[in-house]
Structure formats: structure tokens, C-alpha cells
């Protein structure tokens, strides 16, 4: 064993550059897989934790429908239900307030400290909890308070029913269910104090319930006994279904990581295969000196083990770095502030072992080839017989795979019913088709090398005909090696182009629906419902032609809650860009203006299983009213909580449900209104506690959210390209080392050093260009496939060729490959002709 180890070590050390490249490739693959896995675990733990924080020990939440909230009777009914053990009543109200010299819209929560503590721990990190009857005290979110210079003991002012009132900060809350509100800073006050200060009487907006019986029994009994309108939520189901978009990207990230590892494995295979071919004579000598085939096999597997261990150790370190970077990125981009990395030794060990195992598996074929070298065969020249026949077989297999790929992709996409999402089975078929496509392309690449490199070397021939010819010859001489090298770059390049193309389509889809939602480009957004009088004031501003209000409210629709947005259909008919689903009957706007009907979004239609013409029972104070679905729109206005809404006319909202005022005011300027209108609008918005927000800003917000995720994906994909480049570099290094004599011969017959350098650089350019252009072509095809496969209700990405990214991938690949081989090319060009000719 020591001899084996020592020989394996010397073999690796004698080709240090190649060994380092190989270990680096393994490290990148292992690092990416470990990084993705560790960060995904951190994120899942954080989601579980935040779900637990949010729910606390509450099993269900009962929300009041009417803005006035539940009466005490309802609380009594709920408390008496046999399944209920604890009820924690909450009242919430959005109010203006001042803190640290600035104005904010606070979400004031009135809570009963004794009951609440049994369901949701307060987690006071500074100061103390208030007593149930403590007047003028408030608890704030610690993180918000610190960021806004508000300390325990200082005071804030809240706008109560009697005007501004001062509250002393009694304590600060750490991560808990209370600080998860998405409506600005929260302020906790004792329940009784809140009811009094805001003149809410004994009303409550929410009841948190701890159950001793089952949720389904509770829900049934609640339906039978409830005296007021409500909606109820099963916390267990609700928090289990809350997902982070990053987790949905997880399979794609993992795919890229596995791809990186596969390229790394190809490099190991290539490295060892080359070592075997270089050392045929040494192997022959070892065999004649008595080494058995098994011993030779062990020698090469030991060499692979050395590379695998070095690469995997480096990979684990890299993986920790990648995970730390991903966690930081997610903290910054998605606000997962509690996210923290935990280094699970089992995961690290498993990925480490995977790296080594994969390396050894890759070594099996070259090791077997080495073991098959007969002592005498080693001194014969390389046999190329049979290579041609096996190449023809591979090409035929590749063509068959391409046909299979075409059939799978087309039939997979055909499973998509008109205007609906591709079913899971269709996605699986399409994915199978994509895998077959890649495998097929890899198999036909050796046969395509001759014509493709002839074509691609044409431009080079104009400037350097001899270099172009010799470089092309070097590439096609070992078609399998070149094809594998090109394949690595092609697959990663294709995926980067596909992801970029798809994201461009997604971004465009994202931004166009945002535009379609509003009738004007200037929005005044209010955290609370504003009275109609405010609208009249804004209408009077110079430069304002008209305004169109949007009011959000929630109703009970059968068993579910439904969010609605009241809009003026005539404004939308005149200025709107709402995108209707195909087949929408004309006159939809007149219908929602003149009759009891609504527009609903495609997603909502799918969730509620309704179509145009169906009716939805909406519960009003006067009873249940049947509303007809007049049309389905691609997207509708999102409610303040982000939920999809149904669009209803302002007249119906007022008449049937008593909704007045607005949450968003869309301002239509006069023709020729000057630049100063913006300033006037901003001023007016500020007066009423609103914000002026251009639609472009809303659209940018949507784009940014998408972009940050896609950026991450592209970054991981680019690592794949880097790995592909590593394989190009390795192949060039091998080609150069194998052609030392040939290059010297060229120098002897008159090729200058710069010509030799040109030959090597041209080889590199040809390989990378073939890979990158192939990748771009396949990637563009994938964009078309994935755009169609990924289209779903409410998400219709547009097919767009990402020219910019294609140019970037091609340029980066070629420049990267040229830069990377510049040094070896220089060294080869400087090699002494005489020494190289003597080399044997």
C-alpha cells in the first residue's frame, strides 16, 4: 500500500496543474451541493420557527368580518364551545402616530396580557409587560424601535378618538407572533385601554383560540352557534402551507449543483484517462516487473482517491462559504432576519463522502483500461481500430435520443389544456425530453465536430490560415474528448441562457400585469380607508382631471373569505388595460356597473372553481346576495395583505355592503399638466397621511422581488459555465502536453513562437466557441419549451430570446478560455525545440 500511495501521489504531483484543476472541479461541485443543502436547511428551520412563533400555542384564529368587530356575545359563544380551552381576544386598529419626531401608521393591537400569554409568549427583550389596566403604556417591536431610536421609557404619540395621546414605552418585543404584522410598526396596548381610547366599545377584531378538541369539531360547532359573521383559520394548515419562493427554486439550484459535480466528474475521468494514455509505457513496465492488473487498477483508484479527498475537503470548506453567502443574501433580499446557518455534521460528512464516492466511480473506467494494458502492448503505438465503428454507433444512438427528445417534449406540451397549467405528468415528460435532448446532443457532438469546427474556423482562416487548420485538426483528432469538453460548456451555457430567457419573460410578464391593474400612472396609497371627502379635495387640485378610487374590503363567500376591490368600471373601460382571459364576452364593464356581478382573477377562479356566468354568494348585512362572475381577468388588484381580489363596482360595494371611501386613489392628470403637479400631489398626499407612488415604482418592486431570485439562479448557473471552462482548460492542457513533439516539429519547420501560441489559443477558442454557441442554441430552444411548460394561470411568460445573455455567455466563454490557456500556450511556445524533439 505505501508503494501504491507513493506512486499515486507522484503521478498526481508530476502533473500538478492538471491535478489542481481536477481537485478544484470536484471542490466546486461538492461546495455547491453542500452550500445549497445547508442554506436550504437553514431556511426550512427558519420557516418552521417563524410558523411556530406566529401560531404560538393557538390552534385557530377567528376573524370578524365587519369593521366594527365582534360583540361580547360572540366571545361568550366561542368560549362556551366544548372544544375551546383558551380564548385570547384581540382588537386591532390602524392609526397615525409620532415616534422619535417622525410620523408613522401604527398597527395598534389591544391584547389581554393574561390570556394572550397562555397562547403567544410575549418575548420581552427589554423593559417589562404592562398590567391589564395600565394606562398610557405601550409595547413596541424591539427591532423597529432600535432602528428608529425609540427606547424603553421614552414616549410615542398615537392618534386616539380624542386626538393625539401620549404612551410610554414599557417594553420591547423580540421575535414573536406580534411583530410579524406586515402593516407597518406595531404597538401593543392593554385590550381595555385600546377599546376605550379608540371608542371601540367592547368590540374585538380577532379571537385566538387554544383547543382541547379537534379543529373540525370546533369549526362545525362554531358554524352552528356563531351569532356574527366571521372567518376561521386552522393555524396548523395555514403555517404548513406558507412557503418561501427560494424553496421552490431549490430543485433548480440542486440541479445546477449536480450539473457542476457532473462536470467535475468528467474532469476527473478525463484526467485519469489521460494519465493512463500518457503512462502506457510505465504501466507496461510495472506489468512486466510483476504488477498484476488488479494492482494497476488499485493504483489508479488510489490516485482518484487522492484527488477526491483533496477536492472534497476543499469543497466542504467552499460549501460552508457558499451557504454563509446564501444565508446573508436571503437575509438581505427576503427579510428572513432570523435565518442562521447551522453546520450539520451529518450533512457535511454525507456530501464529503458523495464527493469521494463519485470521484472513485469516475476512476473505474480509466483504471480498468490501465489494468487491461498488456506488458507488450505498452510499447506498441496506440490502436485506433474500432474507434470509428463505435463512433458511428454513438452518433446513431444520439440521433435516436434527439428524436425521443422531440417526441417527449412535443407530447408533454400537448398535455396542456387550453389556457391552463401543464399537469404534473406533462412536466415530467417534458423534463425527460430535456434530459434526452442533452444526452442526444452530447452523443452526436463527435460527429458534428468536423463540420461545425470547419464552419467556426472560417473567420480565423482569414487572418491565420495555418493556425486555424492546425488548431481544428487538434480538436477533431480526439473527437470524444473534444465532444465531452464541449458538452460540459454546452450544458451549463444552455441552462444559463434558458434561465435568463425565462426570467426575462417572467419579468416582462410581471411588469405588464402591474401596468394593467391601474387606470393611471400616479397612485395615492393610504394605509387606512380614506373618506370620499378627501377624494373631492384631491379632485380640486390644479392639474388634476379626475380621480378613480379603489377600496378594499373582505366578505364571506360561502365557506371562504373573499377579498374584494371596489373600482369604477367606467374609468377602467375608458382608461384601463385590464387583461381579460380569452373568450370574455363583450360588455363586461357594463355588466359589473349595472348588475350584481364581479370580475375575478384566473387564480381566484381556479381556487373557487368558478367560471364566467357562475354565481358567488356574498354575505352582506342584509343577507346573502348572489353575484355573477362577469369576466375572468389575468390579474386583479392585490389586497393590502397581497391576496387576490374580485373586482366589484363602487356603486354595488356602497349599496350592498356599505363600503365608502378608498384605499388607493388613481389620479388622472389634465392634458398639459406641468411638472409641479407631482409636487402638489405629494403635498396633498402627505396632508392626509398617504403616499404618492407611481405605478412604475410598484412594477419595480415586483421586478426586484423576481430579479433577486433569478439573479441567484443565474449566479449558480454561471458557476456551471466556470466549470465548463475548467474542462476546456484541462483538455487544452492535455492536448498541449500530448502534442509537445508536434509543436516542436512545427517550430523546427518554421512556425514562430507566436504561431504556436496562436494554434493553442485557436484550439481553445474553437472548443469554447463551439460549446458556447451550441449552449446558446440549445438554451434558446429550452426557453421556448420552458416558457410553454412553465406558463400557468396568472403567469404567462413571453418567449423572448435573451440576446444580451447569449452574447455574454459566448464572450465570457471564449475570453475565459483564451485567458486561461494564455499561460500554457506561452510556455508551450517557449519550449526548446530540441528538448521537445528529444522528449520521449
Amino acid at each position: 500500500m505505501p508503494l501504491l500511495l507513493s506512486l499515486a501521489w507522484r503521478n498526481s504531483a508530476s502533473r500538478l496543474q492538471r491535478s489542481v484543476l481536477t481537485a478544484l472541479a470536484v471542490a466546486l461541485g461538492v461546495g455547491l451541493i453542500l452550500g445549497t443543502e445547508l442554506s436550504s436547511r437553514a431556511l426550512q428551520a427558519e420557516l418552521r420557527q417563524s410558523a411556530a412563533d406566529l401560531a404560538g400555542r393557538a390552534d385557530a384564529e377567528v376573524f370578524a368580518f365587519s369593521e366594527a368587530g365582534f360583540s361580547q356575545d360572540m366571545v361568550t359563544v366561542v368560549k362556551k364551545l366544548p372544544e375551546v380551552s383558551i380564548v385570547a381576544p384581540v382588537v386591532s386598529k390602524r392609526v397615525f402616530g409620532d415616534a422619535g419626531g417622525s410620523s408613522y401608521t401604527f398597527q395598534v393591537l389591544g391584547v389581554d396580557p393574561a390570556a394572550e400569554q397562555q397562547l403567544h409568549p410575549f418575548n420581552i427583550v427589554e423593559g417589562s409587560l404592562f398590567a391589564a389596566d395600565a394606562r398610557g403604556t405601550v409595547l413596541l417591536d424591539a427591532r423597529w424601535a432600535r432602528a428608529h431610536n425609540v427606547a424603553v421609557g421614552s414616549t410615542i404619540s398615537l392618534f386616539t378618538a380624542t386626538g393625539p395621546d401620549t404612551f410610554k414605552v414599557a417594553g420591547l418585543l423580540g421575535d414573536s407572533s406580534f411583530v410579524q404584522s406586515s402593516f407597518g410598526p406595531i404597538a401593543l396596548v392593554p385590550l381595555g385601554i385600546a377599546q376605550k381610547a379608540f371608542r371601540l366599545g367592547a368590540h374585538l377584531t380577532q379571537l385566538s383560540i387554544g383547543l382541547k378538541g379537534s379543529y373540525s369539531d370546533f369549526r362545525r360547532d362554531l358554524r352552528l352557534k356563531a351569532t356574527e359573521e366571521y372567518t376561521v383559520r386552522d393555524n396548523q394548515v395555514f403555517f404548513a402551507s406558507s412557503r418561501n419562493p427560494y424553496l421552490e427554486l431549490q430543485p433548480v439550484l440542486l440541479f445546477f449543483s449536480v450539473l457542476a459535480l457532473v462536470i467535475g466528474l468528467f474532469l476527473i475521468y478525463n484526467n485519469l484517462a489521460m494519465t493512463v494514455s500518457e503512462r502506457r509505457r510505465d504501466i507496461g513496465l510495472l506489468r512486466s516487473a510483476g504488477a498484476t492488473p488488479a494492482w494497476v487498477r488499485r493504483l489508479f483508484i488510489t490516485q482518484a482517491l487522492l484527488l477526491g479527498v483533496a477536492g472534497s475537503v476543499l469543497g466542504v470548506l467552499l460549501g460552508i462559504g457558499v451557504a454563509a453567502a446564501l444565508v446573508q443574501y436571503l437575509k438581505a433580499s427576503s427579510g428572513q432576519l432570523g435565518l442562521s446557518l447551522s453546520l450539520d455534521p451529518v450533512v457535511m460528512l454525507a456530501v464529503f463522502a458523495l464527493g469521494i464516492l463519485a470521484t472513485v466511480v469516475c476512476a473505474l473506467v480509466p483504471a480498468a483500461r490501465a489494468a487491461a494494458v498488456a506488458p507488450l502492448e505498452a510499447i506498441r503505438p496506440l490502436q485506433l481500430l474500432g474507434a470509428e465503428r463505435s463512433r458511428r454507433r454513438t452518433t446513431a444512438l444520439g440521433l435516436a435520443l434527439l428524436v425521443v427528445a422531440g417526441v417527449l417534449i412535443v407530447s408533454g406540451l400537448a398535455q396542456r389544456p387550453a389556457d391552463l397549467e401543464l399537469p404534473q405528468s406533462g412536466l415530467v415528460v417534458v423534463a425527460g425530453g430535456i434530459i434526452a435532448l442533452f444526452a442526444g446532443i452530447l452523443a452526436v457532438t463527435p460527429a458534428l465536430l468536423v463540420p461545425v469546427t470547419r464552419l467556426l474556423s472560417q473567420p480565423l482562416r482569414i487572418f491565420a490560415p495555418a493556425e486555424a487548420m492546425l488548431a481544428r485538426n487538434a480538436v477533431i483528432r480526439r473527437p470524444n474528448r473534444s465532444a465531452l469538453t464541449i458538452g460540459g460548456l454546452l450544458v451549463s451555457g444552455a441552462l444559463v441562457v434558458a434561465v435568463a430567457g425565462l426570467s426575462q419573460g417572467a419579468l416582462d410578464a410581471g411588469s405588464s400585469w402591474v401596468q394593467s391593474l391601474f387606470v393611471s400612472d400616479q397612485l395615492m396609497v393610504s394605509p387606512v380607508r380614506q373618506p370620499d371627502l378627501v377624494r373631492q379635495d384631491i379632485n380640486k387640485l390644479a392639474g388634476v382631471d379626475a380621480t378613480s378610487p379603489i377600496a378594499f374590503f373582505t366578505l364571506r363567500a360561502g365557506e371562504r373569505a373573499m377579498n374584494l376591490a371596489a373600482v369604477d368600471p367606467l374609468d377602467y373601460a375608458a382608461h384601463g388595460r385590464l387583461q381579460f382571459a380569452p373568450g370574455t364576452p363583450p360588455g363586461a364593464f357594463t355588466e359589473i356597473e349595472e348588475s350584481r356581478s364581479v370580475f375575478i382573477s384566473r387564480r381566484l377562479a381556479q381556487l373557487q372553481a368558478v367560471r364566467v356566468g357562475d354565481s358567488i354568494p356574498l354575505t352582506a348585512a342584509s343577507g346573502v346576495l348572489e353575484y355573477r362572475v362577469a369576466a375572468i381577468v389575468e390579474h386583479s388588484l392585490p389586497a393590502p395583505g397581497g391576496e387576490e381580489t374580485a373586482l366589484i363596482s363602487l356603486a354595488n360595494a356602497r349599496q350592498d355592503f356599505g363600503v365608502t371611501g378608498f384605499n388607493i386613489l388613481q389620479v388622472l392628470p389634465n392634458q398639459g399638466a406641468g411638472q409641479d403637479l407631482q409636487a402638489r400631489l405629494e403635498h396633498a398626499a402627505g396632508q392626509y397621511g398617504m403616499q404618492l407612488e407611481p405605478v412604475a415604482a410598484v412594477r419595480d418592486g415586483v421586478r426586484r422581488g423576481l430579479e433577486s431570485l433569478l439573479l441567484l439562479l443565474s449566479a449558480v448557473g454561471l458557476v456551471g459555465v466556470v466549470m465548463g471552462l475548467l474542462s476546456v482548460i484541462q483538455t487544452i492542457l492535455l492536448n498541449v502536453s500530448e502534442s509537445t513533439r508536434e509543436l516542436a516539429l512545427l517550430r523546427a519547420v518554421g512556425a514562430t513562437a507566436s504561431q504556436v501560441r496562436g494554434i493553442i489559443l485557436s484550439q481553445s477558442a474553437l472548443l469554447s466557441l463551439t460549446g458556447a454557441i451550441g449552449g446558446a442554441a440549445v438554451g434558446t430552444l429550452l426557453v421556448a419549451v420552458m416558457t410553454r411548460a412553465g406558463a400557468s394561470i396568472g403567469f404567462q411568460p413571453v418567449y423572448e430570446v435573451p440576446w444580451g445573455v447569449i452574447a455574454l455567455v459566448v464572450l465570457a466563454s471564449v475570453l475565459g478560455a483564451l485567458l486561461a490557456v494564455a499561460l500554457p500556450a506561452r510556455r508551450a511556445a517557449r519550449t526548446s525545440v530540441v528538448a521537445a524533439i528529444r522528449y520521449e
Binding site: 495555418a466 485538426n473 512545427l746 523546427a748 513562437a753 525545440v833 530540441v834 524533439i837
Partner: protein, 254 residues
């Protein structure tokens, strides 16, 4: 014959050439203050045992590596004064070099191998006639599309000579050109070299340790330990008999 040759301007001048290689820390002198001239049309053989410095001397003459000291002048141009690039270009245009092994680029056909120097010099097609003339002259016509591994050793060497002749070089330098060939094939290659000097007036220098090959030369330089210890004038002869050379070498105790 040699007097005739020295009367005219020499084509190759080796002036006090020395070259040492560092083996471990001590320099090992391979070529030691060697000086001679070769006239136009003359074929000179350099003989000597393995390791006497024959190949290194040829490398210095062809400009494949620079000497430590001394000068090499080819066709009136001092190549030892040139930089690497100019020396390479000069070699491409004026010196044809034939090695014992590894003469051909494996993945180029015979015709492509012959055309190599012109392609390297930037020719785009004007070399076709020249290549086919050479292939006809060297009896290689049927081997045009064959790759090196598909033809015999003698044919490979003839292709190498054709390549060396392509640029109509002033000097043809051959290092053991028959070392790897059988008797008949070796003779074919030597006949070819001799006729280029005799009929085309090109200058030939060949290194060999085979007296039969050296007997084709007009003059034989005998080397030992890096120095020329003897010059044997054979004169231009049609029969290439090795007997006079062998008896002269015997007289010298070599």
C-alpha cells in the same frame, strides 16, 4: 573537389562553435570550439559515436538552438546574430531539416505535411503545384491523402525530405535520416539527398554513425567528445562505395 568547393564563397560557415549543457551543477561541453565551412552543392557528413555532439552541432547550424559562443553563417547571413523570431523565419525559408523520428504531424495527410512550411508562411493555395511536383519527384504521388500512420517508415522519411525541400532551401540538414530505415529504403533516401546536392546545387549536411550513409558525402567530418578530430575528403562519386571511407577510418583507428 574540396579545393574546388573552398575556392567559392562558402554556403555554411561554422565559426568556433561551443555549446554546453548543465548536468546537475557541472556544465557538460557537447560542442567544443568547432569550425568548418561547407560550399554550395557540397554534401558533408558528420560522423562519430553516440553522444559525440553530432546532433547538437546540427541543431546549432539550423538555428534550432543558439550556441554559447561562436557564429553560424548561412548563405552569407549570420543566423546567430538574429533574434528568435527572425531566426525561425530564416530557417523556414532557407534551411530544410529532417529528423530521425517524429518528422510528421500525425493528423495531417502526407500532402498537408509537405505543404506545412508554406502554410505556416501564410500561403493560401499557391503551394499546390509545388507540393504535387515534389510528390511526383519523390515518388509519393499515390500517398497524397494518407496519414503518417498509414505509410511506411521510408515513405514517411521521403515525405519529411519533400517538406524540407519545399521552400527550395539553401541548406538541407538531416539528423540520422536513415537510422530508422532498412537497407533499401535508406539507400533511396540517401540517393535523394545526394541528387539534390549534385543536380540542384543545394547544400547538404547529414549526421550519421553509419559509414555506408556517410560514404554518399563529398567530405566526412569525424567528431569525438564535441570536437572535429578528422576531415576525410571523399570527393564527388557516383558509386557511393563505403570501402574508401571504411579503410580511411581504419587507418585512423576509428
Amino acid at each position: 573537389m574540396s579545393e574546388q568547393a573552398t575556392a567559392v564563397q562558402p554556403t555554411v560557415v561554422a565559426d568556433n562553435l561551443s555549446k554546453a549543457y548543465r548536468i546537475s551543477t557541472r556544465p557538460h561541453v557537447v560542442v567544443d570550439r568547432v569550425g568548418f565551412t561547407v560550399a554550395q552543392g557540397e554534401l558533408v557528413a558528420i560522423m562519430g559515436p553516440s553522444g559525440c555532439g553530432k546532433s547538437t552541432l546540427l541543431h546549432l547550424l539550423a538555428g534550432l538552438e543558439p550556441p554559447d559562443s561562436g557564429r553560424v553563417v548561412v548563405g552569407g547571413t549570420e543566423i546567430t546574430a538574429m533574434d528568435e523570431r527572425r531566426r525561425t523565419e530564416f530557417r523556414r525559408d532557407n534551411i530544410g531539416f529532417v529528423f530521425q523520428f517524429f518528422n510528421l504531424v500525425p493528423n495531417l495527410t502526407a500532402a498537408e505535411n509537405i505543404a506545412l512550411p508554406m502554410r505556416i508562411a501564410g500561403s493560401r493555395g499557391g503551394h499546390f503545384d509545388r507540393v504535387s511536383d515534389l510528390m511526383r519527384d519523390l515518388n509519393l504521388r499515390n500517398l497524397q491523402g494518407h496519414r503518417p500512420e498509414e505509410i511506411s517508415g521510408g515513405e514517411q522519411q521521403r515525405v519529411a525530405i519533400a517538406r524540407a525541400l519545399l521552400m527550395e532551401p539553401t541548406v538541407i540538414i538531416a539528423d540520422e535520416p536513415t537510422g530508422n530505415l532498412d537497407f533499401t529504403t535508406g539507400n533511396e533516401v540517401l540517393d535523394l539527398l545526394w541528387s539534390r546536392c549534385h543536380e540542384h546545387g543545394q547544400t547538404g549536411i547529414l549526421a550519421t554513425h553509419d559509414a555506408r550513409a556517410a560514404a554518399y558525402a563529398d567530405r566526412v567530418l569525424v567528431m569525438r567528445d564535441g570536437r572535429i578530430i578528422e576531415t576525410i575528403d571523399l570527393g564527388r562519386r557516383q558509386d557511393h562505395s563505403a570501402a574508401p571511407l571504411i579503410s580511411r577510418l581504419a587507418q585512423l583507428g576509428l
